[in-house]
Every structure is written in structure tokens, then in C-alpha cells.
Amino acid sequence: MTEGAPAARPGSGRTGRWLARASRHRVALTLAFLLVFPWIAPYQALAVNILVLGLYALGFNLLFGYTGLLSFGHAAFLGGGAYGCGIAIVHYGLHPGLALAAGTLLATLIAAAMGVLAIRTRGIYFAMTTLALSMCVYYAFYRAEAFTGGENGLRGINVPSVALPGVRLNLLDPTVKYYAVLAVVGLAIWLFSRLLSSPFGAALEAIRENEHRAQACGYDVARMKLAAFVISGALCGLAGALQAIHLSIVPIEIMHYSTSGQAVMMALLGGMGTFFGPFVGAATFSLLQDGLATLTSHWQLFVGAIFIAFVLFLPLGIWGEVLARLRRAGW
């Protein structure tokens, strides 16, 4: 699979012929992997979770890995998407397709509002501003109990089947559900890839490498950052909307800042600034938690120790490390 943009940290050596070729087909290769993924995952519900979290980490990676902005507020977008979609179905009886759009739209609006405020700060202050704003969003949704169910969460997002032109998908069948979600995620991955290869993608990387130079080159840095923030929010929102349909509930925890922390961890585990890294990160994160929780009630001890080991010994993340090694080997 593949490497879209150069790794965020100094890579070693030039990209070889094989990697360059793989990079051109990164969407197809990623999808090929995701198509066979359910055969490897312990169970389909977890596979769908990983798909959704992968998209969430992908959206986060646009901002963190490709633009260099560390946000601690992405839970507000994931949650906004989930609540938007859930509320559209539970309270307004919308078609699931429209509900997905509604969720994504709500997340985009939240991202735009948060972005306008937060983009003026930078570095650690940006991280803290997004954290504080997302917690305000959290409490707002917490208190809107009539719509969101408050602490009890939103229940009743029951979508047993989806009517599409010509077919009716039975989402109670876990396999059908996985591929239905994959179809949406695949579309998002393709759009994401197109975005990265556009001039806009190049501009984001310029900003990441050196904001002042990018400014001097004539880029409208503030507007570019805001655009990246909003697009990132929309992708995360779509992930949240899919999760609402997958789990049939939206827990309030989805908006808590610890969920934002999850995005950071998945991006770092997988390898930030790499195209496929977020999915590797999401899979590693979920499989670790799931597997260890089955093996021991002290799973948090091992999860913690593994994170420490990753930071110390694999700072590029799993996928970042794989790419670096392949590159060194002249692929």
C-alpha cells in the first residue's frame, strides 16, 4: 500500500520505483485491503468499528499529519456527525442516506464555528483552544437532552435495512453492513486522495513545513488552515454518522475530549502524514484494546506500556516505519 505525501518527519532516501507506483494507486490498494479485512478481524462489528475509526483518524490526519495542526477537539466533529445523523433518523425519520448527509453537515458547521475561533492561535495554544471549545460543544449536547438523550445517550437509531434504487440492503446482516459502510468510506478515501493531489494539498504541506515561507509564497495561510480544519471536520463527521448507524446508539462519551485523544493516538500509532497510516492505527488501537481486554482485566497496563514502547522505539508509527524501511531498501 502506499504513501501519498512525504512522511511528516524527515524521511530517509528517495522514494523508489515500487513505492512511487504504489502511491499512484493508493486508493485502490487501501480499498483492496479493506475489502478482505473482515476475513482477518475477530468479528464484523469490530471490523466496522475499525473502518469508522480509520476514517476518523484519516480526517484527523489531514489536519495533524498533512497540515501540522494538532487539534484536541475532533471529538466534537465525530460526535456532531453521529448526533446529526441519529437525530435525523430518530426525530425526523429521514432516509439513512440523507441522515448521513445531515450528520456530515452538522459536523461541518461545528468545525467552521470552532475553526474561525481557533485558527487564530497556534501550537499548543491551538490544541488547548480546540480542547476547550469542543468541551463547550460537549456540554451543549449533554444539556440538549430532548434531542440527544443527554447522559443516557441517543437510542433508537434502528436502520434494519436501506432501500436503494433496485436493491434493499439488510443491515442486520453484519457482512452486508460492513460492505455498505465500506462503500461510503471508500468514496471518502477517494475524495481525500483527490484533495491531496490537488494544489490545495500541496499548499497544506507547504504550510506544515514552514508557515512563513508559505505566506511569502503568496498562500492565504489563514484561509487554507480554516479550509483544512473544516474539511477535516466533515470527514470526521461522516465517520461519526456511520458509527451512529452501525451501533444504533450515540453515547455522549463520543464528544468527550478523551475521544479526541483517541484520534491523536491512532494517528501516531499508524504513522501520521501517511495515507494508509490512519487505518493501520485504528486497527492496531482497536485490536489491542479488544484482544487485551479479553485476555486480562488489567488490559490498561499493557495498552499503556505498549504506547510507551511505541513512542520510544517506533516514533514514525507502524506504517511510517514500514515505509521508511522499504525506502531504505530502495523500493
Binding site: P38, W39, I40, A41, P42, Y43, Q44, A45, L46, A47, N49, E145, G149, G150, E151, N152, G153, R155, G156, N158, P160, L172, P174, T175, Q243, L247, S248, I249, P251, I252, E253, I254, G291, A293, T294, L295, T296, S297, H298, W299, Q300
Partner: protein, 411 residues
Amino acid sequence: MTTGIDRRGLLRGSAAASTLALAAPALLRSAAAQAGPIRIGFPVPLTGAFGAEANDQVRAAQLAIKEFNAAGGFDGRTAELLVRDDKINPGEAATRTLELIEKDRVNFLVGGLSAAVTLSINNVARERGVIYNSISQSDAINEAKDFGRTTFHEALNPHMTAGAVGRYVFPKSGKRVAFLSADYAYGHEMMRGFKRAGEASGIEVVADIRHPIGASDYSAFLPRIAALKPDVLCLCNFGRDQVVSIQQATEFGLKRNTKLVAPVLLFTARKAGGDAFDGVVGGTSYYWRLEDTVPSAKAFNDRFRAAYNGAVPSDYGALGYAGVRSVLEGVKAAGSTDTAKVVTAMEGLKADFYKGPQSFRACDHQSVQSVLIVEAKSKGMSTPDDVFTILGTEGPDERFLRGCDELGHKA
């Protein structure tokens, strides 16, 4: 606590099972449920703040399974418990419930500890027509919006518990009542239970203060309440919030003029809170000293002690037992594991498993059962587990539940 070894043993079992499952690709696995053992999925929060309660739920549930199997099972089939850690997170609980239904092909589900988690499990289970017997306190699960025909509620609900405590306390301790409630559905539900019980004895609400759930400090709320000198302070919160708010109310000297009341007094919370709980009155579904008056409680405790080195079951533990036992008795009565037949059989159960008579109400499948009124103590204890005095028992009666119409069930 002596749970360590048992828990490890129990997790080892499920670990072996999951290693096998890992070896077989998910899509290639097929259902082999019909002839095999009767499988009961049991999602509870093994890790996290309620781990002690959850582990006790598991031990008691295992006891119910063991008894069922020792008595020959049903139709040559034994029962087995599939324990999952829901991490007290509704999203995790939904995922685990999907795993239990889709991969493990469980016949039934029992479990849950927090209201949000129980509602999440319930929503996933009812959509797939799997019987779920909840052992977590919640009023919402009774309501038509969340109810499904496969939904059962073994635990007390906040309305019954708070109501029973209010009916006991208000006539005795006075009419000027202050509320300090956690600001979420469960806190509001308990407050509603108190207020409705208080209407009969004509209470006057002098303060109604809501605190955010999970607050680590209550001192900011307490001077105002202390200044009002209420006769009764109802603490409508749970778990850690309850322990800390009681400790700090004691620190601010509220006990001088005011009776502290908590709708649900947890056995484990009292043990974590120490003597700050002294004199606090509250309700519970079960306390082991019930064995002094109720024969089935004595028998249950003795079996539990024999299985677990003389330990006594906690309130939530007893619910784990009853939750599993109700379902298995339903299977026996139905003569089948078929969902529709078991539902009908459970609706007709008239049981006395561990605390006296109980049965499920027809409209919402709420278990109609007694509520114990207990007072916490730290002196004159016969054993370290002797932490409550039973002040009274409100017998099972549908009158104390919210009406079926009010819940939105059509007659």
C-alpha cells in the same frame, strides 16, 4: 476482596475461547447454537470504577449457571456464561453486544450496570429480537420508547427505590426536604420518585440543587444547603458521587440538623466510604442480612458462601444471580429456548429466588419486588460485612410503579 483469582480463572476461559475465535476467520464461522449449550452473554464493566460490583455480578451469575447445570440443565443442554467487559462505555457495550449476538450466537443477554450502557445493550438486542434481562437501575428502560417485547428489567428502578425510601423517611424525619441531585437522567428519575412519594406526606422542597455528574468536590453546594437547615437531604446520585458527597456533607456538619438520605445505598460504596456513611438511610434491592428473616435469602447466601470462601453476595451481585436465574427458569418453564416462548414463560414466572416473591409486570416487564430500607453503620458490626441495619421492607406492589399508561404502553 477475594475476587482476583476467580476473575483471572474466568477470564482465562474466555481468553481461550477468543483465541480459537481469532484463528477462524469471521465470515467462515457458522452458527452452531441450536444443539450446543445455552449461551448467555453477560456484558458488565469489569474494569473501571465499578469493577468491584461487576466482578461480584459475574461470580453470582456463575453460581446460577453452576446450579442450573448441576440440576441437569435443560433437555440435555447445559448453560454457559460469556462474560464481556463493557468498560462502562455505551459504545463499547453496543460493540460487545453485537459480537455476542452475531459471532457468539448467544441465546440470551443479561447484564449492564450503568443506565446508559443498559439502554445501549437493550437497543441493539431488541432490534435483533434477543431477550435481554437488565440488571441495572433505570426508569427509561420501562418506557415504551425503549421497551421491546424481549426487554426485561430484573433490577429495581429509581422510581421504586426512591419512592420506598421517601415513604419511609419523610413521615419520620420531617417535611423540609432539600435535594442535591446529579444532573442526568438517573438523578432526575430518583428525584421524581422522592417527590411523588413526598406528595402523600406533604413535604416542602426547600432546595433543589443539581450538580454535574462526576464532580469531585461538593463543597461549593453545601454551605447553601447547610444554611437552610433542612430536615432531610436527599442525595440523588450514585457510586463515587455518592461517596464523596456524603463524606463532604459530613465534613460540613450537615448531619447535626439533617437526616442524610440516598435512594440507593450500595454495599461496595459503603465499604469504600467508611464511617462517613454512618446514619445515612437508603434503599437497596438486596442486603445479605435479609437472611435473618427470609429463608430463600439464607439459602442463597449459604450457596454463595460455599462457592466463594465464605464471602457474602453484594446487592449488584445478587442481581447478577437473579438475572441469569430468571432467564434459565424461563427456559425450563417454556420447555424451549425459542425467544417468543421464553418471553411468555418469563412473563408468567412467580419466583422466590433469593429475596422473597417477585414477578415481571406484563406491560413493561419490570420485576415487581420488595425494596429494603437500610441504615449504614460502622459500630456494633458482627462481621466486617455487617455494614447496614435493615429498618424495613416495602413489599412488592405494582402500585409503587409508574402506571403503564404513563410509560406510554397501550393497553
